[in-house]
Amino acid sequence: MQQQVETWVNQAKKGDQQAFYQLYHQFKGRVYAICLRLLADRSQAEDATQEAFVRAWQQLPGFRGDSSFSTWLHSISSRTAVDIWRKNKVMRLVVDEEPEEQGYFDAPEMPQLEQAILRLPAQARTVFVLFALEGYQHNEIADLLGIAEGSSKAQYHRARQLLRSWVDEN
């Protein structure tokens, strides 16, 4: 599969949109998962997924293969979702301090922890997803979100605490 992905990447670099569709088909689930977990909103996650793939297409000629395509695409997806997250934060004007109400994200088909992640307060959720699921370090998260490194660590521990208590509820 890795070799097939490399072939598609090389073809897409040259402008082959059919090859890029194959890449989309292969990675759309992962990209959407990142976006949904970061934004906790289906509609916004879909928009972010589309935006991430458009950015990937635009930046593909500069992709040199220093990392795998998957890692590179993950990075673009995280940043795209974080950009939208930042806009949301500005629009909200205040940082949410309270957890979302139960049922805010109605997705009974999802595993319990998945639903609990989507219930987390926006900043705690974003930090948790970036650190625990995407492998970012706290200093990188601080740069991405424009917060102090200490805040990132505090939000992460807060997220874990909430998740532990919520998952235990059911």
Binding site: Y21, Q50, V54, R55, W57, G62, L113, E114, S165
Partner: protein, 181 residues
């Protein structure tokens, strides 16, 4: 309450992929612009070739008379003064060509910087482009200063060529990415 270990175990079991509920491709496809094969990037390539040619040209001019001088000197009885006099105009020509080349190189850099400043959207990863360009310019200026004292120093010339190539490649990449953004 779950323990930390139990939570970690649950995290590790999360699905790596979640499927969107609708087909996102049509909207993506509509926004994919065809790749541009020629444009400002091609112009930069020509500019790069011009600068490199300007560098190689004076070196070749200098090398040819040096070879010519080395031959006759060994078999000729001409006074050393004449040889020295013959070298002066060539040295002057060398310095003059070097100066012209440096001048053109600077003008090219200034023009590139002006056009880069006109770019409306700087792509991701290039936000510090002006600092990068400034670093290259500073390094080049230092080598040019050293070349003023040692115009024939091949290592310095090669170093300057490398820096110019790096700078042009960086600018070409920036512009190419910007055109696609």
């Amino acid at each position: 309450m779950k323990t930390e270990q139990q939570l970690d175990a649950m995290i590790s079991q999360l699905a790596p992929a979640l499927e969107p509920q609708r087909d996102l491709w049509p909207d993506i496809s509509a926004r994919l612009e065809p790749r541009q094969r020629r444009g400002y990037g091609a112009w930069l390539g020509v500019a790069a070739a011009a600068v490199l040619t300007l560098w190689f040209w004076p070196q070749q001019l200098v090398q040819v008379p040096q070879l010519a001088q080395n031959g006759p000197v060994a078999v000729s009885n001409e006074p050393q003064v004449q040889q020295a006099e013959a070298q002066v105009p060539m040295a002057n020509a060398d310095v003059s060509l070097l100066a012209v080349s440096e001048q053109l190189s600077r003008q090219l850099n200034e023009e590139q910087t002006r056009q880069l400043k006109a770019l409306q959207k700087i792509p991701d990863g290039f936000s510090d482009w002006s600092q990068q360009i400034a670093i290259w310019n500073k390094a080049q200026a230092q080598i040019e200063l050293a070349l003023a004292f040692q115009p024939d120093n091949q290592k310095l010339i090669q170093q300057l060529q490398r820096l110019q190539q790096q700078q042009l490649s960086y600018i070409a990449k920036l512009v190419e990415t910007s055109e696609l953004t």
